[in-house]
Symmetry: none
Subunit: 321 residues, 2 copies
C-alpha cells in the first residue's frame, strides 16, 4: 500500500520533532478504547492506520497536544484525526482526547474518574458511583501520607508535641472536627491539652496565660478562618511554638509554624474532606501515646475506671419501662 504518490509523506509514523517517550504500552492494563482501536485497525485505510498507530503508541500526547499538533506528529492531515474519531464511533475528536486525558488523571493519582458534564445535567440517579469515587479517593489520599516525607513530618511534630508542657488545640469551623478529636483523645491520656474553643468568642482566652514552653497545635484548611489565623499569630508572638495541620505549602499558617503536616482535602464532592486530617490527628495521638506505653496504659485505665463508675457505657439497649 501507500507511497505511490510523489508527495506522499513518509510511510512509517514520523516524529518530526524529537519526542520523548515511546515505550510500547505506557497506558495501563485495560483500556477499552485501545482495544477498540486495535480491533478496528485492520479495517482502516492507510492514513487512518497511520493516525491510529500514533495514537496507540503515544497515548499521552493525545491528551497533551492539540489535534493539529498531533496530526503533525503523526504525519497526517488534521482531518484524518477527525475521521478516526468518527470511525471509532465518536461524535468528534475531542471525545478521544477526553478519554486519554482521563487516563492521565487516573494515572497521576488514584483518584476516580469523573463525569464531565455541565451542571445542568440531572444528578446521577443511584449515587452509588459518587460514593465509590469519593471513598476511593479518600483511601488514596490517606495512603499518600505513607510516603517518607509526610511520615517524617508526622514524627517530627509528634516529638515536639511530646516535649511540650502544655498543648493548646485550635481548630474552627470544619477543622473543629479535628481539633476536638485531638483534644478528646489527649484528655484521656492526661491533662496537657487545652481546647481553644468556647462560646461567644471566648475560645482564645485560655491563651492569656500561655507560656513559651507550651505549644499551639492549630488545624486549618482552605478557606482559613480569620480567627484561627489571628490566634495562631498571637500565640507565636507570645513565644509559643506553632504546629499546624493544614492543606497546602502556601497556607498562611506555614510561615509561622515550626512544624507543618500537610493533608489532602480535595474530594469528589461539594465539600472538602477532613478524613485525612482526622487520620493525621489519630496518628499524632498514637505516636504520643506510644512514647510512654506504661503511662498511657495507666491513664487509659484511670479513664476506664472513671467512666465505669459513671456508668457511661453499655453493651445493650437499656431496659424499657
Amino acid at each position: 500500500m501507500s507511497s505511490k504518490s510523489p508527495m506522499s509523506k513518509s510511510p512509517m509514523p514520523t516524529s518530526p520533532t524529537s519526542k520523548s517517550s515511546a515505550s510500547k504500552s505506557p497506558v495501563s492494563q485495560s483500556d477499552p478504547l485501545r482495544e477498540q482501536i486495535i480491533a478496528q485497525f485492520d479495517g482502516m485505510s492507510a492514513q487512518l492506520q497511520q493516525a491510529a498507530r500514533y495514537v496507540l503508541e503515544h497515548p499521552e500526547e493525545v491528551a497533551l497536544v492539540s489535534m493539529r499538533e498531533l496530526a503533525r506528529l503523526a504525519a497526517v492531515q488534521p482531518a484524518t484525526m477527525t475521521r478516526l474519531a468518527k470511525m471509532l464511533g465518536f461524535q468528534g475528536y475531542n471525545e478521544i482526547r477526553a478519554h486519554y486525558a482521563e487516563t492521565v488523571r487516573q494515572r497521576n493519582d488514584g483518584f476516580a474518574a469523573k463525569v464531565r458534564q455541565r451542571d445542568g445535567q440531572a444528578a446521577s440517579a443511584p449515587g452509588s458511583d459518587i460514593a465509590h469515587h469519593m471513598l476511593h479517593g479518600l483511601s488514596a489520599q490517606i495512603a499518600a501520607l505513607c510516603e517518607p516525607e509526610p511520615l517524617q513530618r508526622l514524627t517530627a511534630m509528634a516529638s515536639k508535641l511530646a516535649a511540650a508542657k502544655k498543648i493548646y488545640v485550635l481548630g474552627l469551623r470544619s477543622s473543629h472536627v479535628v481539633a476536638w478529636h485531638f483534644h478528646y483523645v489527649m484528655s484521656l491520656l492526661g491533662e496537657r491539652s487545652v481546647h481553644l474553643d468556647g462560646p461567644a468568642g471566648t475560645g482564645g482566652d485560655a491563651l492569656i496565660r500561655a507560656k513559651p514552653d507550651e505549644v499551639l497545635l492549630v488545624i486549618s484548611i482552605n478557606p482559613y478562618a480569620r480567627d484561627t489565623l489571628t490566634l495562631a499569630q498571637l500565640a507565636k508572638d507570645k513565644g509559643l511554638a506553632v504546629l499546624s495541620i493544614t492543606d497546602s505549602e502556601v497556607s498562611p499558617l506555614v510561615s509561622i509554624s515550626e512544624h507543618t503536616v500537610y493533608c489532602a482535602t480535595e474530594s469528589y464532592s461539594f465539600f472538602h474532606t477532613l478524613a485525612p486530617a482526622l487520620a493525621v490527628s489519630e496518628v499524632l495521638c498514637t505516636l504520643l501515646a506510644e512514647r510512654d506505653r506504661p503511662a498511657t496504659l495507666a491513664a487509659l485505665q484511670d479513664a476506664d475506671d472513671h467512666l465505669a463508675h459513671l456508668n457511661t457505657y453499655s453493651n445493650a439497649l437499656p431496659r424499657r419501662e
Copy 2:
C-alpha cells in the same frame, strides 16, 4: 481577596463542577517550578494566589485543559493566568503548560521504574513505622467501603435521610466528631439538621417534640455510650426512624435501626479510629447534596455571602499592629 465578587466561591470549599485529582504530592518529589511558585507565593496578590494555589494542587489539570478552562476551575479571570505566567518570569502561559505537560510525559516514562522502588527504605524516625502501619490500615478500611454492600447501605441511608422532614444527629464521646461534622455540613445546606448535643445533659431535649416523619441519625462505636443508646431507643419509641453508623453487626443499635452502615474502627493503636466513620459521614452529606444540585449550590452561595459579610475567612495572616 475574592468573595466580594458576585461569583465568589462557597465558604465550604466547593466544587460545583466535577472535580478530579487531589492528593498532596501527585507531582514527583522535585519540581523546580513548584518550588518557585511557593517561593513567590507570598508576594502575589489575592487573585494570583488563588490561581497559583490551584496550579499547585492540580498540576495535571494544567497540562490537560485549556487556560480558560483552568481559569474557570480556579475561579479566576483568564487574564490572571497570563499574569501568573509573567510573574513567574515566563513569556506566556503556554510555557507553564509546557512544563507540566513535560512532567506528565516523564511520569509516564518512568512509571514502571517508580513502581519497582517501593517501600522498604531504611527505617527513619522512631515511630515512623507505626504511623505507616496505621495510615496504611486506615486507607484499606476506607477502601473496603467501596464494596457493593457498603455502597448499597450508604445509598439506601441517603435516600431515607433525603426524605426526612428533619434529621436529629446524635453522637457522644468519640462519636461526637462524626455527629458534629454531619450537622455542620448539613447546616450549611439548610436547616433540617438538629444536633442532639448540649451542656449539662440537655442534649436530648430537642427530641421532646420529635415527630414520626423525622429521623434520628445516630453514630456510636464500641464502647457504646449509654446515653446514646437511651436516646436512640426513645426516638424509636416516638416513631422516628433510627439510622445508625456503627462498628458491628452486633452493635446494640442494629436492632432498633431501620438502616445501618458499618465502618471499621480497628487501628494499630490504643484507640479506635474514626476516620472511616467520618468518611461515611462525608459520603452521606455528598449524596444528600447531590440530590438537588441547584438547591445545594444556592445554599452554599447563601452561606458564602453570609460568612463573607462576617469577614470569617482570610487567606493571609492578619497584619500585626
